[in-house]
Symmetry: C2
């Protein structure tokens, strides 16, 4: 009988596992022998933080990230067809969302392997929960285009947001976060509500929603190189 | 000093709290005295399931759901300005997502009250994690239009999905789930990948992705009156 592919969320900030992971997630994560992970070093450190009793050296890790050739993904599931369970973990948060883990889940479905999602933190979803913006219609777009294309993209998103009452969610390369906030406050309409969610689940978590007109009057928070999710609703 | 508004996820299936909630979420939920909830009976039952020691009769509950007049929402936060913490819980899953809880969070931001999201299950996000569809660009649209408008809406969504490589996520009134699956298999293109996620976290959890061409050949799962999330990527 084939094993299962478990999609295992990991911490999104330097906080104890009990804050961010259901016990069942911790139990499954520390009971598996085989992993496909976005980054091996992070994955080992994560498993050690969940349980000191884990014998890391007895576990097998294979990396799947943006450098992985797509043709090498299929063989990662051989162990599952051999009857063993496999855990997928991304660098932080929920695998399969905003990372290449979806490619492994897609291949599992093609082979009829059961894929089981577990409960853990997602900075995207938690930002939305706390934003007060529309949670009945929302879109996550990953990274937006850079340079001259950014303003155009933002205006198109704002138009769609207004027309469909759809919350727009996105992220930026962390070293450009402050610049992104400046651009948003400059480009978006004064009445658009803009949420900045910084360090979700971290010690300096800050999730704040203001209209763009209000943001223009305020001292901006420092987002430089800190994990931040941006959301707006026109 | 003002209190905080905690956005508290609840179970999405009849499973033990440890499967679906971080310990920290359970700790906060059972430590609060004041709640705004989508349904009082469900909220009481949920708190009892997390801890038998909770003295339910000492807690205050106010309902916020689709029947609540918007003008009555503001006063729900008076207790927070008085210095006490408040917990928001929806009927199931994450408050502020696919429920009216966002209105309370929005009002909190207007008053400068801190909103804190906690970790728990979201059938939308967990379906996406396990689907193998694109998690770097996705949209949740809540309920789609019914009747003659549905086919048109699906074709527009499929077009956008293809153009933007955007996963489309939505739900249906549970008694129309089987009909929705029939319609999807009929209307969407054969190459579009369609995920059906039924009873996420429940004992009969089934998350399956096939192309529409494959779905046409298969015996359809029974989704009647069972919580189901639909996802597709063209």
């Amino acid at each position: 009988m084939a094993g299962k592919l478990y999609m295992i969320p990991t911490n999104i900030a330097e906080c104890p596992a009990d804050s961010s992971l259901a016990l069942e997630t911790q139990r499954v994560a520390t009971g598996l022998k085989h992993f496909v992970v976005e980054n091996i070093r992070t994955a080992r450190r994560f498993l050690k933080s969940v349980s000191r009793d884990v014998d890391i050296d007895s576990l097998s890790f294979t990396e799947l990230n943006e450098h992985t050739p797509e043709m090498s993904i299929a063989s990662m599931l051989d162990v599952v067809e051999g009857g063993e369970d496999l855990g997928m973990m991304s660098e932080a948060g929920c695998p399969g969302v905003a990372d290449p883990g979806a490619l492994l889940a897609a291949e599992a479905h093609r082979r009829g392997i059961q894929v089981v999602p577990l409960v853990g933190p997602s900075s995207i979803l938690m930002s939305l929960m706390a934003s007060g913006l529309n949670g009945q219609n929302f879109t996550f777009r990953g990274y937006l285009p850079v340079g001259g294309e950014l303003n155009k993209a933002l205006r198109q998103m704002e138009e769609r947001s207004q027309k469909e009452q759809q919350t727009q969610i996105f992220i930026e390369a962390p070293y450009r976060n402050n610049k992104m906030l400046e651009t948003l406050v400059e480009v978006l309409k004064p009445t658009t509500r803009l949420t900045v969610a910084r360090d979700v689940m971290g010690p300096e978590e800050m999730i704040v929603t203001h209209t763009v007109a209000e943001w223009r009057r305020k001292t901006k928070p420092d987002l430089h190189k800190r994990p931040t999710v941006f959301l707006f609703l026109a």
